[in-house]
């Protein structure tokens, strides 16, 4: 590389150069290389597009000032994961969905060379049937405001210069002209709250660390993202790794730390790879290391990979894990800001929190405060998944209602089914219902109804979901992940899981529900860390909002959604049954009888619900009734 960026002047020059290079790329074809699209084969498409466009420089003349070059780039996640592989063509602003290698030729001939749109590849709204070839007009994108995700899907995350062209490392340059206190003050004034779940004011946290008068301090970026159903941190680390590094540097400068750790979960190999490349490129340019941008500030970044433990996302456990120990939480205080890594003052922030920092420094606290609500300024990314039409990653201003998020951005419930519930905030969050759809999404309104934004996982569930089974599922998760250090969490979650399992198995009694509530409140009050303290949330919220379903399971021995195996009642649909006798032959208890070529009959009393007949029937005539 050779180029060293050792002053603000050199940074500006590098930015100008990178900008010009990108401007020369009159056509940019961006192929999503986020985890989802890679899984659907986007890398092959990128290779094919590169091959197909490599000789057509001169031919393309449809853009007024003539085409100087075509850039084919792989980018981070565009967010619209279920529609992948995605290909975006600039400056047309076209987004093609579900692209395959076979489409490449047509894309080059029609769109690249002639500037015409291929309707077949454009997004088609599943309900209205309308076709949206232009990305920013697609309802999924139209209602979003992107700050944390602003570069995701737009730049090549493995190309430092593209980041520079979009004001990369300008924020740390600006921060370095200010005093540490001034930087902390801007973050305080912005009202930024931690996006890792708790929503603690970031500026205040930095102030605590700055106030500690100690030689050695650390900053940590929490990229553990253990919440099942959430992948925003992954997408930011994969799609815009330099942004995370820059945010961490600013945190380091503001609090007086010379070393930053990024803790990434082991399940995210692509994020690790991209971050490692970003760190080594930043070092090569001199943007990390000694005397950054010609100042006294020196900073290095180290990646630590997790090893698969949900509790390691908790800050004190995470620090134990970095130190090479079992990742067990410890009581607070002392808080990490006082005594963290190896006993030194440590600031720990979530990936998304840090990704917001550079923009706040560059554009100011007031700009940030204009977005979102009074007490929850800014935007929040959500991973919207489950039974919703547009699954993917979104970023919206705080204060939107659940309805707006699920219906306007998410496109509503899939397959014309009915909305039943939304699980928000992962295993520590809660299940909300229809009546909460007009609730605004911000830190405070959600905690009032027993849920929380958490990391921002939004799992939408339709009428075919059994809420009790979902509660059992979460309990199984937290029970598995409890580190076992404190009794209430270790034993309490186990007992709760046993009860829930019993109910799902059709063996529950009315008094089980009471017992469940008792244990839940004990675990909530008495656990050491957030894992135990929040583990009862899904149970408590479902008991509150879906009590009748629990009752149906224990009293009527029925699963209203028809999901729980043990409570299923099978019957034979006489219209579909052709009387082939396959079912009666496999039934181990002789519960099915009938005459050949006439509809068979299933005796529910004898039936042991093994499901053998369901599998045996070639006509799908055995149904859950």
């Amino acid at each position: 590389m050779g180029l060293k960026i050792d002053s603000k002047k050199a940074l500006d020059a590098a930015k100008e150069k990178a900008r010009q290079r990108m401007e020369n790329e009159t056509i940019r074809i961006l192929i999503c290389a986020g985890t989802g699209c890679v899984a659907s084969g986007s890398l092959d498409i990128a290779a094919a597009l590169k091959e197909a466009t490599k000789d057509i420089k001169a031919e393309v003349t449809f853009i007024e000032d003539g085409c100087k070059s075509i850039a084919v780039k792989t980018s981070g996640c565009h967010g619209f994961c279920a529609m992948g592989p995605l290909v975006r063509i600039e400056p047309l602003g076209v987004l093609y969905t579900k692209v395959t290698v076979d489409d490449v030729e047509e894309i080059v001939e029609t769109t690249i060379k002639k500037g015409e749109i291929i309707e077949r590849l454009a997004y088609k709204h599943p309900v209205s049937g309308e076709i949206y070839p232009i990305e920013k007009e697609i309802p999924f994108y139209k209602n979003q405001t992107r700050i944390g995700l602003m570069n995701c899907g737009v730049i090549d995350p493995e190309d430092l210069e593209e980041y520079l062209a979009r004001d990369g490392y300008q924020a740390i340059a600006k921060a370095l002209t200010m005093s540490q206190q001034e930087v902390v003050d801007i973050i305080k004034a912005s009202g930024l709250r931690g996006r890792g779940g708790g929503g603690f004011p970031t500026g205040l946290k930095w102030q605590f660390a700055l106030d500690e008068e100690r030689e050695q301090k650390y900053v940590i970026c929490n990229g553990d993202e253990g919440d099942p159903g959430a992948f925003m941190d992954r997408s930011i680390m994969e799609g815009d790794p330099h942004k995370v590094i820059e945010g961490l540097m600013i945190a380091g400068y503001a609090t007086g730390a010379d070393t930053g750790y990024i803790y990434v979960r082991a399940e995210y190999p692509l994020a690790v790879k991209r971050l490692k490349k970003a760190i080594s490129d930043a070092q090569a340019y001199g943007l990390l290391g000694e005397n950054i941008l010609g100042t006294d500030f020196s900073f290095k970044v180290i990646i630590k990979e997790g090893a698969g433990a949900f509790v390691c996302g908790e800050e004190t456990a995470l620090m134990a894990s970095i130190e090479g120990e079992r990742g067990m939480p410890r009581p607070k205080p002392p808080f990490p800001a006082q005594r963290g890594l190896w006993g030194c003052p440590t600031t720990i922030n979530n990936v998304e929190t840090l990704a917001n920092v550079p923009n706040i420094i560059l554009k100011g606290a007031d700009w940030f405060r204009k977005l979102g609500t009074e007490n929850s300024p800014g935007t929040k990314t959500f991973a919207i998944t489950g039974d919703v039409a547009n699954t993917g990653l979104i970023e919206v201003p705080m204060g939107l209602t659940l309805r707006e998020v699920i219906y306007d951005v998410g496109g509503g419930i899939k397959d014309n089914k009915k909305f039943k519930a939304v699980q928000i905030g992962g295993p520590s969050g809660g299940c909300l219902t229809e009546e909460h759809l007009d609730l605004t999404l911000d830190f405070d309104s959600l905690s009032q109804v027993g849920a929380m934004i958490g990391s921002g996982g939004l799992v939408v569930m339709d009428e075919d979901t059994c809420i009790v089974e979902v509660a059992r599922f979460f309990m199984e998760f937290t029970q598995n992940e409890s580190c076992g250090k404190c009794v209430l969490c270790r034993e309490g979650t186990k007992r709760m899981l046993e009860i829930l399992q019993r109910i799902v198995d059709g063996k529950g009694e009315l008094k089980d529900i009471e017992k469940l509530e008792d244990i839940a409140s004990a675990v909530k009050d008495g656990s050491l860390c957030g894992l135990g303290k929040t583990a009862p949330n899904p149970v408590l919220t479902t008991l509150k909002y879906f009590r009748d379903e629990y009752i149906a399971h224990v009293v009527d021995k029925k699963c209203p959604a028809g999901i729980c195996e043990a409570l299923k009642v099978y019957g034979i649909n006489a219209d579909k049954c052709k009387g082939c006798s396959k079912c009666s032959r496999v039934c181990p208890v002789g519960a099915i009888s009938g005459e050949i070529k006439k509809p068979f009959i299933l005796d529910t009393e004898k039936c042991i619900k093994c499901g053998a007949c369901v599998e045996a029937c070639p006509f799908d005539a055995v149904e859950v009734v």
Partner: protein, 166 residues
């Protein structure tokens, strides 16, 4: 049979290399175990004991770490490691039927996770972070999205055919 220290060192040459690469600081322990596991596909007990000696840590510390994290396995794993995501998004979109279909296909019964011929290990994981494609399955780190019991069966058929062909 007691091996002399130098014989031991020779036997664990690869392990030594890994330890050397990271240094003997305790904070490197997890990374060292990760790399050893990549090499051997699991963490054999004797290696763990050796790591403890070589890094000047108590065996309890090393075993404690190795058993705490889900990523580490003290038992040999199959050649193909099939992970079925059972995160929330995948669970509500039907990951369990996919998991059951895989177990049936490779012939796993009861609590077993690995087939006798050490060809397949089938396990669940919580959230792979590709929830938009739920339900998600990975086979040796290749990601397959929007799986159904039928689709995964076809993939496994293909895999088994290749396996037989070799």
């Amino acid at each position: 049979m007691a091996l002399t220290m130098s014989a031991l060192q020779r036997k664990f040459e690869k392990v030594n290399e890994i330890i050397e690469k990271y240094g003997k600081k305790k904070s490197s322990l997890i990374a060292i175990l990760q790399e050893i596991q990549e090499e051997y596909r699991y963490l054999p007990e004797e290696i763990l004991t050796y790591v403890a000696t070589a890094m000047d840590l108590s065996p309890a510390t090393v075993f404690g770490v190795a058993t705490f994290y889900a990523q580490f396995s003290l038992e040999p794993k199959g050649k193909y490691i099939i992970r079925v995501c059972d995160g929330t998004a995948c669970h509500v979109r039907g990951s369990m039927p996919v998991y059951n279909a895989i177990r049936k296909k490779v012939g796993l019964k009861g609590d077993r996770k690995t087939t006798d011929d050490l060809n397949f290990t089938v396990e669940t994981v919580s959230c792979l972070g590709a929830c938009g494609l739920a339900p998600v399955v990975t086979i040796n780190d290749k990601v397959y999205g929007q799986m159904t019991p039928e689709a995964i069966e076809l993939i496994l058929d293909q895999l088994m055919k290749e396996e037989d062909g070799q």
